[in-house]
Amino acid sequence: MVFWRQVGQQLCRVPKTASDIGLTQSRRYMTFSRTRTIGTTTQLRSTLAVHRSLQSSWQGYSAARRSFSVTAQAAHGHITPPKPGEEINITFIDKDGNKVDLQVAEGDNLLDIAQANDLEMEGACGGSCACSTCHVIVEDPDMFDRMEEPSDDENDMLDLAFGLTETSRLGCQVLMTKDLDGLVVRLPSMTRNLQASDFEAK
């Protein structure tokens, strides 16, 4: 049964009109925001194990066919799955206020976790603490105090972050530890509120 369901799902991807054909190539790379889901719950995980393996082998095949850009294989968004019993809970709140609960392994950083889980977080410098695009805000000040102090380099980049708060951190510099179980971080809203003064000649 599971097999036939998979076959059905793959059939959905077959182009239906002539004009679609030109686009199928890229559909594996570009996705729509409509397809977004919020939060994976743990109880679903086991039932989906088969799905996942089938799905990933299919996608692995299609990716292999077109992955000629070797330079782009930067280490981003690739995390280690947590061992059973050693999961650390973390919650992301995106800029629309949606909560995403995740279970992650020790040692992964927040940028990789976010990118691996479809959250809208950029890492323009590839996680090397040279930009401020992975800015996150720790919701609980106590949790912030429990983290290691940010380095001077991180603080220097945070100084340039949009919407800096007292409990801001760079996602690429926060490594998950057991101490941080239950961490809640918010992704800052990047939209600028336009003022009438923005249109005056300066």
Binding site: G8, S26, S69, G77, Q115, A124, A130, C131, D156, R192
Partner: protein, 534 residues
């Protein structure tokens, strides 16, 4: 992996975990394919968007747009045969981590809905009006092609006086400044006017140990020249005080930690009083504290030094009477901060006078002089054919802040702002990056800005129900994109470069670099780049 309206790399795709969609059953997936696209179905053709410029603003806008619209096809036009703009030619060679954004851009370019069209200087080689019939929207992200001048006597001298922009382009291998050939051997002093990050980049390159630069992708000819440099002392001079300086703390800290380079302590009296500093916002407070602390390097041990000189306005440049071709010193007039508001980042300065009534002046010895007082965008020739009135004074394309090009003279469609006032926008025309905001900010700010513009464009497309073109009326416009423009380009004898061409140039540069132990050795001339392809 499914990113939220974003872009996915091949490696990620392979690792994706399946997740069920809410309100979606097995059956409904069959009946309503979720990737059904109304626009393609209606007219059977993609939305064609031209992006002018291939720097961070252009690429981040393309990335966002391709993620938001499945039927968008982006053609990116670039003057040079190679992409990446200031990420390649502006970011200092010793900041390779900042260039990591190129990895993302390369990912974007691997999309089949992205075309790179290099080596076409729009406005000069090919008029902008040749693009218009074939596109549904045009997005300008061509940045700032010039820099601001000081307007002081001697500035136009052919030798020993340079714009920092040209110097940066020269050491980064920009073809435009390949032949700058700065003279770094006629003396030991350099003066840089302006206190932004570009000024600090220039100072750092002048003071860095050449062996440290050897491992970077700095231009080979620049390395040779810097190896012979006699410059020992660099002054970075600003018109206002430390609180008003434009540089960011990361670059200052890097300068203060430069091995073998000492820093002249800043006189205490130019800093705001301690109680003012402690009440400053975090970023400014940390910068003031860092500047006051200075460098730990011992001046006795250091062979080179630098200083930040505040409250000095450039007055003129003076040549040695006995050697008319040798710059001897730069004359500066002293300023003082506006006494009514001396401790704000936007404080003004007034000229300082001596008791005799004369301007207080000071001469700083210098053998090479750089101006670094900001970049400036220029209008592309032919912008007015599209109805755009470039704002020369502010150096930007007038826009509504969201990226829609606006008209000052009342052309275009009126739009109501949140505060109730009306502005008129020119449909189908957008801008992003420095040509939209002015030449300030780091890559992160350009990214945010380009995302805003791309979101606006996507939203405008979604709001346009009768047609997918923003530039044209329904049924108008060829929708051919580059395929339509190509014929005209060929007729003019142009030789456009594709992304594949860039990959070949890229490989050639990396191979050249490998022989020299560098990550890359850039080809310094357009002809050399094209030679690789022929």
């Amino acid at each position: 992996m499914r990113l939220n309206g974003a872009f996915v790399c091949a490696q990620c795709t392979a690792r994706t975990a399946y997740r069920p969609l809410r309100h979606e059953s097995f059956v409904s997936r069959f009946i309503f394919p979720r990737r059904f696209n109304s626009y393609v179905a209606q007219t059977g053709r993609p939305v064609r968007v031209a992006i002018v410029g291939s720097g961070p603003a252009g690429f981040y806008a393309a990335y966002r747009l391709l993620g938001k619209r499945e039927d968008a096809v982006v053609d990116m036009y670039e003057k040079l045969p190679v992409p990446f703009g200031l990420a390649r030619y502006g970011v200092a060679p010793d900041h390779p981590e900042v260039k990591n954004c190129e990895d993302k851009f390369t990912e974007v370019a691997t999309s089949s809905r992205f075309n790179f069209v290099g080596n076409i200087d729009l406005g000069n080689d090919l008029p902008l009006s040749a693009l218009k019939p074939h596109y549904d929207a045009i997005l300008f992200a061509y940045g700032a092609a010039k820099d601001k001048e000081l307007g002081i006597p001697g500035e136009q001298a052919l030798k020993n006086v340079h714009s920092a922009r040209a110097f940066v382009g020269w050491y980064n291998g920009l073809p435009e400044h390949r032949d700058l050939d700065p003279d770094l051997t006629s003396g030991e002093d350099a003066v840089i006017v302006g206190q932004g990050n570009v000024a600090l980049d220039v100072a750092r390159i002048l003071l860095s140990d050449v062996d440290a630069l050897r491992k970077t992708d700095i231009a080979d000819y620049a390395l040779e020249k810097l190896a012979t440099s006699r410059i020992k002392r660099v002054r970075v001079v600003g018109r206002r005080g430390p609180l008003q300086a434009a540089f960011t703390i990361k670059e200052v800290r890097e300068m203060l930690q430069l091995p073998g380079v000492s820093f002249d302590p800043i006189p205490k009296d130019v800093f705001p009083p301690d109680d003012v500093v402690s009440a400053l916002p975090r970023a400014q407070k940390r910068l003031m504290q860092l500047l006051a602390k200075g460098s730990a390097n011992d001046p006795q041990q250091a062979s080179r030094s630098w200083s930040l000189d505040f409250l000095l306005a450039p007055d003129s440049l003076c040549w040695a009477p006995e050697y008319p071709y040798r710059l001897s010193h730069a004359k500066f007039s002293r300023n003082e901060l506006d006494p009514s508001d001396p401790h704000s980042p936007s404080s003004k300065v007034f000229p300082k006078y001596l008791s005799s009534g004369k301007r207080a002046q000071v001469n700083l010895p210098t053998s090479v002089f750089f101006r670094s007082v900001g970049y400036k965008s220029l209008p592309l020739p032919g912008l007015d054919d599209l109805g755009i009135d470039f704002d020369i004074r502010r150096g930007i394309i007038p826009n509504d802040g969201f990226g829609r090009v606006t008209s000052l003279s009342g052309k275009g469609a009126p739009e109501e702002l949140p505060d109730g006032s009306l502005i008129s926008t020119l449909p189908g025309l957008y801008c992003a990056g420095w040509v939209k905001r002015g030449p300030t900010g780091v890559i992160a700010s350009t990214m945010t800005d380009a995302f805003t513009t791309a979101d606006t464009l996507a939203q405008d497309l979604a709001n346009r129900v009768d047609s997918q073109s923003l530039l044209h009326a329904p049924e108008q416009g060829s929708g051919l994109g580059w395929d339509g423009v190509k014929a005209e380009a060929e007729r003019r004898g142009l030789r456009p470069t594709s992304w594949q061409d860039w990959l070949r140039i890229d490989a050639a540069e990396k191979e050249r670099g490998q022989q020299k132990g560098k990550p890359r050795s850039k080809l310094g001339r357009v002809e050399e780049m094209l030679e690789v392809l022929d």
